[in-house]
């Protein structure tokens, strides 16, 4: 690793100012599980590293009036174990369980996972399916960006120089709703997902689907919503033919590439399989009445 200047701000304004001052020469350091790997491989060589972990108030999970707020610096391991999230957004805890090893999860943060903007990012599909909002703070002040507008491409986000992701917020879940996260990798653990899928369904008292969100990862330059698939579902009562049409639409939304992990064809087939399973599991959770 090449030497750098190290800054350890104790407040958010200091951190934002330090990052803004040094512009493209500076990076924010959270868990470092992506950053240090990239710096050692010399894919990036920052002159200034701004450690944002000692700023108070940027980590933790809080539930208020049904809303759930997750600090960007919250460890992936804490998301995995959080009783609040296990009750309010279990698909997010489930996703956390699959990220790296326990050693990595004790370092990695949810914010770092999003800001790294890997197409396969473990935490992204569930946040897309749950309609999460990202709270960004920069020199200009704070703004809120829906997670689906956050990613621009592999490793690229809407974050401006100096901007820090501080919080992720989720709406209170509807009573008859469910969510699911599924992923497929060659080895079950310690292997990046070659496809990941998250689904969210909300039903009315008659069982009609009132809200549907399906998110796909690792099959496009960014994690994506399968909007045509969602449109198939909304306003209808679940049945196998409906889910089949939605699954076809999800497969059509995916634009997978072939790489070291998988061929594009295999990825498409896995989108089909995981979407089918995710819809079935999500429906069952929603029908059970409780928020799964």
């Amino acid at each position: 690793m090449y030497p750098f200047e190290y800054i350890e701000p104790s407040t958010l304004p200091e951190a934002v100012a330090a990052l803004a001052e040094h512009g493209p020469d500076a990076v924010a350091l959270a868990g470092g599980t992506d950053l240090l790997v990239m710096m050692r491989a010399d894919t990036i060589r920052p002159k200034v590293v701004v450690n944002i972990k000692r700023i108070p108030g940027l980590s933790g999970i809080a539930a208020t009036n049904g809303d759930v707020r997750v600090g960007a610096l919250t460890l992936v391991r804490d998301i995995e174990k959080s009783p609040v999230l296990r009750a309010r957004a279990p698909a997010l805890s489930e996703a956390a369980r699959w990220l790296g090893s326990v050693q990595i999860r004790h370092l990695a943060t949810i914010g770092g996972n999003l800001c790294r903007a890997a197409p396969s990012a473990e935490m992204a599909p569930t946040l897309l399916a749950l309609g999460a909002r990202l709270h960004l703070v920069g020199v200009q002040g704070q703004r809120v960006v829906p997670v689906e507008d956050f990613f621009l491409g592999p490793g690229r986000t809407v974050l401006q120089p100096g901007e820090i992701l501080v919080e992720i917020s989720l709406d209170g879940l509807a009573p008859r709703s469910g969510s699911t996260y599924l992923r497929h990798s060659i080895r079950p653990l310690m292997d990046l997902a070659l496809v990941n899928v998250a689904a969210y369904l909300a039903l009315d008292a008659a069982g009609t689907i009132t809200e549907a969100r399906i998110a796909l990862g690792a099959v496009a330059p960014t994690p994506i919503r399968a909007r045509a698939a969602e449109a198939e579902l909304c306003g209808h009562t679940a049945d196998p033919a409906l889910f089949e049409r939605a699954t076809e639409a999800a497969v059509a939304a995916a634009r997978p590439i072939s790489d070291v992990r998988s061929t594009a064809v295999y990825r498409s087939r896995m989108v089909r399989l995981l979407t089918q399973r995710a819809l079935a599991q999500t429906l069952a959770a929603a029908q059970n009445g409780h928020v799964q």
Binding site: M1, Y2, P3, F4, E5, Y6, E8, L29, G31, G32, T33, L36, V37, M39, R40, V49, N51, K53, R77, G100, S101, V102, Q103, I104, H106, L107, L189, M190
Partner: protein
């Protein structure tokens, strides 16, 4: 760039080290403090040979800047034996022949020790998942899993004196 004065609390002892900010905790533990029990395998977070406990939790020390370990407690494999007695997990690894070259062993033992402390009744499946980040090129893992299960079940023969 100038060196930082770092005060690191390792195995209950405070070490004052002058190190550049880009040095990792793994490098400082091994090269500056001389605690070479913690191994460097991949230097990339993949193998777990560098695992230490940071504030009691297993982390890959190759992905931690030494400066980030200031004001935290660090436990390495050297800190496990107490009063001349090996930790039960160390004992279990010996009794079950859970090591050959030994390169993965320090990382595995500290990870497995914390795993059972956090959940003493971990299932075999939970043990496997908990050790997914520790690679072993020699044993084939069978003896390792047996050692951790024996430790969980309190089935250890006797105590070996620490070296």
């Amino acid at each position: 760039m100038k060196k930082l004065m770092l005060s690191l609390a390792v195995n209950g002892q405070v070490y004052d080290v002058a190190a550049f900010p880009h040095r990792t905790l793994l490098e400082v533990l091994r090269d500056d403090i001389g605690l070479t029990g913690t191994k460097r395998g991949c230097d990339d977070g993949d193998c777990g040979a560098c695992t230490v406990l940071l504030d009691g939790l297993p982390v890959t020390s190759c992905l931690v800047l030494a400066v980030d370990a200031v004001e935290k407690t660090i436990t390495t494999i050297e800190g496990l034996a107490t009063a001349g007695q090996l930790h039960p997990m160390q004992q279990a690894f010996i009794e079950h022949g859970a090591l050959q070259c030994g390169f993965c062993t320090p990382g595995l033992i500290v990870t497995a020790k914390q795993l059972l402390e956090e959940k003493p009744d971990s299932s075999d499946e939970e043990i496997r998942a908990g050790l997914a980040g520790n690679l072993c090129r020699c044993t084939g893992y069978v003896q390792i899993l047996a050692a951790v299960a024996a430790c969980r079940d309190g089935q250890l023969a006797g105590q070996t004196e620490a070296p």
